[in-house]
Structure formats: structure tokens, C-alpha cells
């Protein structure tokens, strides 16, 4: 038995570190975004044609104050990453939450109420699954025009199925359990049962999906600004920086590398947070 508890302790420790690292990075990012004017060493929009393509601080030819170098217009890479975090996090939080609420509500209704509600929602999910999501989002932005609201709207329109599919299946499984029948015998209505009995039981899954969705939202925003369809081209976005870095990768690798690392860490942090929470919610491990 000692063996088993030790194993469990190790798993718990690993989950703990993972949650801390992920949470730490996201907190850092959030603070940087909120206090961007205070932490950013330079104006993210300031161009200086005498300081174009400066390398990062450890390379020869670097200038003090431009820690991660400058791009082809002489704009400071670090400051642009910090300001870009604002858009990325706003999109993650707002688009993630709205998608979560709409998708979960539809999934819950389809899975528990069944009947024609389920039929309609399931058909819609089938149709949505037949669209290539990236192309769909680019198309939507082209139609409704670029801007923050459009990005959020596009993410909600495309990604609600991620929640609806999973929550529908979960709600269906929960609906077949005895406690649901006894709640109904005790006189709870259908909607009451759905909100009071089913919802609390699928909530852990919803939270996990939400953190994953936030990571996805960051990527979608980056992809849209990569194809130059996100917000106005002046404002710094990670995807926009990556697009520029991709174009000048042979002349100035740092313009691509640093936003890319930031994006990597952020996406990884969101998914690790989700995975960590999933294990935390797992009664076997607790």
C-alpha cells in the first residue's frame, strides 16, 4: 500500500507544479498587460528608422533599452509583445467566456431535454463540423470587417460546438443516473432538474473546456492577425508580429522568435491549467 500512496503523492506534486507554473505565467502576462504603459520600456508604436532591426541585448550591435531588439520599422519588440498581450488576453477571456456560456447552454439542453431540441442542435453541430474552422473564421472576419468585436464574434460563432458536443454527451450520461430520477420524483420540474442537478455535475468539465478554449482563442486571434485580418494594422498583435517576423526571418530572426515563444508559453499554460484542473476535479486522485 505504501507504494500506491507514494505514487499518488508524486502525481499530486506533479499536478501542483504544473498548475503553479501555468498560473504563474498567466498572472505575469495579465500584470504586464494591465500595467503595460508602466512596464513597457518603449512606445510600442514609435518608429525609428535609425534603429531598425536591432538584435536582442546579448548580440553585437544591440542598443540599451531595446532588450529584445527592434523590427524593420525600428519598433521595440518587447514593448510590442507586452502591448499585444492586452488584445490576446481580452480575446481569451471575453470570447472564451461567451463561447462557453452559449455552447454549454445548448449542449445541456440537447443532452438533457432530448427530443426535437436535441435533433435541431445535433444537426447544427454536424453542419458546423463540416466547415474548416480556420477558413470559416477568416471568411467571417472578411464579412463582418476587422476589429476586436468581430474577432470575438467569429470565435463564438465557430467554437460553440466544442462545448456543445462534450456537454451534450455528459448531460446525457448524467440524465440516465438514479439521482436525476429521484429528483424528478421529489417534484422538481425538467428545467429545475437541469439547472439544479445536472449543471453542477457537468460544471467541472465546463471549467476545463473553458481554459482550453481560452488558449484556442489566443491562437485564433494570432492566426487572424497573421493573415492580416485582425484589428487595425498599427496596434501591436502577436500574430501581426509573427507575420512580419516570418517575412523577414532571414534578416531578423528575433522578430519571429520572441512573439512565437510568448504564444507557445501562453497556449501551453492555458492547456496545462485545464489539464491540472481536470485532475484536481478527479475524485480518484483527490
Amino acid at each position: 500500500m505504501a507504494d500506491l500512496t507514494d505514487g499518488r503523492g508524486a502525481v499530486k506534486r506533479r499536478i501542483g507544479t504544473r498548475l503553479w507554473l501555468a498560473g504563474g505565467w498567466l498572472t505575469l502576462l495579465l500584470l504586464a498587460a494591465v500595467f503595460a504603459p508602466l512596464v513597457a520600456p518603449q512606445d510600442p508604436l514609435a518608429q525609428d528608422l535609425f534603429l531598425t532591426r536591432l538584435p536582442p541585448f546579448w548580440e553585437k550591435g544591440a542598443e540599451a533599452g531595446y532588450w529584445l531588439g527592434t523590427d524593420s520599422l525600428g519598433r521595440d519588440v518587447l514593448s510590442r509583445i507586452i502591448y499585444g498581450a492586452r488584445l490576446a488576453l481580452v480575446v481569451a477571456l471575453v470570447a472564451g467566456s461567451i463561447t462557453c456560456i452559449i455552447g454549454s447552454a445548448l449542449g445541456l439542453m440537447a443532452g438533457f431535454l432530448r427530443g426535437w431540441v436535441d435533433l435541431v442542435i445535433s444537426r447544427l453541430i454536424d453542419i458546423w463540423m463540416a466547415f474548416p474552422p480556420v477558413l470559416f473564421s477568416i471568411l467571417l472576419i472578411a464579412v463582418i470587417g476587422p476589429g476586436l468585436h468581430s474577432i470575438i464574434l467569429a470565435i463564438v460563432i465557430i467554437d460553440w460546438t466544442r462545448f456543445a458536443r462534450v456537454i451534450r454527451a455528459e448531460a446525457m450520461a448524467q440524465g440516465a443516473m438514479d439521482y436525476v430520477a429521484s429528483a424528478q420524483v421529489a417534484g422538481r420540474g425538467r428545467i429545475g432538474t437541469m439547472l439544479r442537478e445536472i449543471l453542477p455535475n457537468v460544471l467541472p468539465t465546463i471549467v476545463v473546456l473553458l481554459t482550453l478554449e481560452m488558449g484556442i482563442a489566443v491562437i485564433v486571434e494570432a492566426i487572424l492577425s497573421f493573415v492580416n485580418l485582425s484589428i487595425s494594422t498599427d496596434d501591436p498583435t502577436w500574430g501581426g508580429m509573427i507575420a512580419e517576423g516570418r517575412a523577414s526571418v532571414y534578416q531578423a530572426w528575433w522578430v519571429l522568435v520572441f512573439p512565437l515563444i510568448t504564444l507557445f508559453l501562453t497556449v501551453l499554460a492555458f492547456s496545462q491549467l485545464g489539464e491540472g484542473l481536470k485532475d484536481r476535479f478527479d475524485p480518484v486522485l483527490r
Partner: protein, 335 residues
């Protein structure tokens, strides 16, 4: 039973495709800006614009336009591209082989990498190596193809320039091909020089697409192998004196593979969807790259054709996987 299921499945597939067509049709007709006006030279008169609008049928109501379009599609006519003025069907079919080759290469790589990871992990279970495989799997799983593509561009295009990171084939090469399937045709014609060039162009985008799927395959297959390894018949084959490698690959694997197969079907459609941005990233001349250009140029008939084609591919893959599953799983066949 099987035929009933097949007919029902084809029915829902048709509903899905009609749904996709209607949504795309409505969405792209709300596009602001007159695409016709953009095609004409600056000196064009109002009458020119009106004439061309009528030519593309854009002056009719949306339902009327839809009916005309459906009629055309049933006759194999998907309209004419506004930017290139060529038939949409020709353009789309011209690019389809490039995307199919890329997707299939990525699928093969994903199965190879993911399968190897799962089998190695099972063979080495309980060791540090298994932990390392799990961690690598987790990382690969949570980072999408777009970011892997960029990372590969940096690693193998800039840092160690060993592979091509742009295009489908070196432009200066003479191509003797009659089909669009360069990868297969170069092999068929025994032109290994061309084949090597094409593979060197495809390897990076295919790997970017393959990594997330490989992680999913690795994780799921390892999980079901783990469950199968505890079954009695596996223990029996071990007591018969078979070695561990034989037990894993010959006894456990055939039974553990079925759940992975269904999942690979759905995930393969996600992979094909990912080609849109990955092709853009690597300037690979496939459908996805053309789709993004079409959106930027507001080429309505072309966008429509590409999205429908993607939807057809997705639903076809799902249909095939469903049927394959029924055929391979004896319990469902007679159910």
C-alpha cells in the same frame, strides 16, 4: 441492418451538405463592397458595372441566386471565378491533389510517430522513458499546428536550413507531370530527383500538421493497450512463452486499435482543416492557400466552391470511417 444504417448515414450527410451550402451562400452574400466593381478598370461606367453584375447573377435575390447556383452544381457547374475568370471547378480540382497529398502524408507521419510512441511507451512502462514520452505527448497535444509550423520554419529553415520552407516544388525544375499528384506521379515515373525535391518541400508542413494528431494517437493507443495488457488472453499468451514484443504487437495491438481508429477519422478532418493555415505559412500551393486569397480578393464563387469541397471531404471521411468501423467490429456488424 448494415444497408439501413448506410442509407440513414447518407441521408444525414446530404442534410449536412445542404446546410453548409445554405450557410456559406448567405454569409458570403453579406460581404460589403461590390466585388464586380473591383474587377473593372477605373474608367468603367455604371452601365459596365450593371452588365457584369447581371452576368454573375448578383442582381437577383439571394434565394433566386441560390436556386440558380444549385441548378448549376447539379450539372457540374460551380460558377466562374471573379478574379481569374476560369471555371471554379477547374481551379479547385487543380489544387485539390496538392492538399490531398499533404494531408495523406501528414496522416501517415502521425500514425507512424504516434504508433511508435504508444508501442515504445507500453514496452517501457514503469520506466523513466515512459514518463518522458508522456510529457512529450502532452506538449505536442496542447500546441496547435500553426505554432509547430512556425517552430519548424525557424529550426529547419533558418537555424539549420536542411528542408525547403516555401512552395511545393523548386520553381526552376521542369515538371513532366500530367496529373496534380506530383508526389505519386514522380514515383510512378521513377523520377526520384523530382520526388526528393517534392518531399523536401512537403516534409515540414506535413510534420506541423502531424504532430498534434500523433500526440492524440499516441495517448489513446497507449491507454487502450494498457487496458488490453491486463486481459486474460494476453496473460495466457505470455505463459505460452511468447516474448514481450510479440505479446504487445501481435496479441494486444489488434484488439486495442479499434477505438483509436474511430478517433483518427474525426481527427483527420481536423488535420485537413488545418491545411488552410499551414499551407499559407509554407506558401504551399494547395486549396487552403487559394481559399485565403479568394477571401482577400472577395472572389465569392471561388470561396463557395472551396468551402463546399472541404465539407464534402470532411463528411466523406466521416462516412468512410463509420462504415469501416462497422465492418471491422464484428459486434456491430450483426447488431
Amino acid at each position: 441492418m448494415f444497408w439501413q444504417k448506410l442509407i440513414a448515414r447518407i441521408g444525414t450527410t446530404a442534410v449536412t451538405l445542404i446546410g453548409v451550402a445554405v450557410i456559406v451562400f448567405v454569409v458570403i452574400r453579406v460581404v460589403p463592397g461590390n466585388p464586380v466593381a473591383m474587377m473593372l478598370p477605373p474608367g468603367a461606367t455604371e452601365a459596365d458595372v450593371a452588365r457584369l453584375t447581371a452576368l454573375y447573377g448578383l442582381d437577383k435575390s439571394i434565394p433566386a441566386q441560390f436556386l440558380i447556383w444549385v441548378q448549376g452544381v447539379l450539372h457540374g457547374d460551380f460558377g466562374t471565378s471573379i478574379t481569374t475568370r476560369q471555371p471554379v471547378l477547374d481551379l479547385v480540382l487543380g489544387r485539390l491533389p496538392a492538399t490531398l497529398e499533404l494531408s495523406i502524408m501528414a496522416l501517415v507521419m502521425a500514425v507512424a510517430i504516434g504508433g511508435t510512441a504508444a508501442l515504445t511507451g507500453t514496452r517501457l512502462r514503469g520506466t523513466r522513458a515512459e514518463g518522458a514520452i508522456d510529457v512529450a505527448n502532452g506538449m505536442a497535444l496542447s500546441v496547435p499546428d500553426f505554432l509547430w509550423g512556425l517552430a519548424l520554419i525557424l529550426l529547419f529553415g533558418v537555424l539549420m536550413p536542411v528542408f525547403h520552407i516555401s512552395g511545393r516544388v523548386t520553381p526552376s525544375l521542369e515538371l513532366p507531370f500530367t496529373t496534380g499528384f506530383y508526389l505519386f506521379e514522380s514515383l510512378f515515373r521513377l523520377r526520384f530527383d523530382l520526388w526528393a525535391d517534392i518531399v523536401s518541400h512537403m516534409l515540414m508542413p506535413a510534420l506541423a500538421l502531424a504532430i498534434p494528431l500523433a500526440a492524440i494517437i499516441g495517448q489513446l493507443l497507449k491507454q487502450s493497450l494498457k487496458e488490453t495488457m491486463h486481459l486474460d488472453y494476453v496473460t495466457l499468451s505470455r505463459t505460452k512463452g511468447y516474448g514481450e514484443n510479440h505479446v504487445i504487437t501481435r496479441e494486444a495491438l489488434p484488439n486495442a486499435i479499434l477505438p483509436t481508429l474511430t478517433l483518427v477519422g474525426v481527427q483527420f478532418t481536423f488535420l485537413i482543416g488545418g491545411t488552410v493555415i499551414v499551407e499559407r505559412l509554407f506558401s504551399y500551393e494547395g486549396l487552403g492557400n487559394m481559399a485565403i486569397d479568394a477571401v482577400i480578393n472577395r472572389d465569392l464563387p471561388l470561396i463557395q466552391g472551396i468551402v463546399i469541397l472541404f465539407a464534402v471531404i470532411f463528411t466523406a471521411v466521416n462516412l468512410v470511417v463509420d462504415l469501416l468501423y462497422t465492418v471491422l467490429n464484428p459486434r456491430l456488424r450483426h447488431g
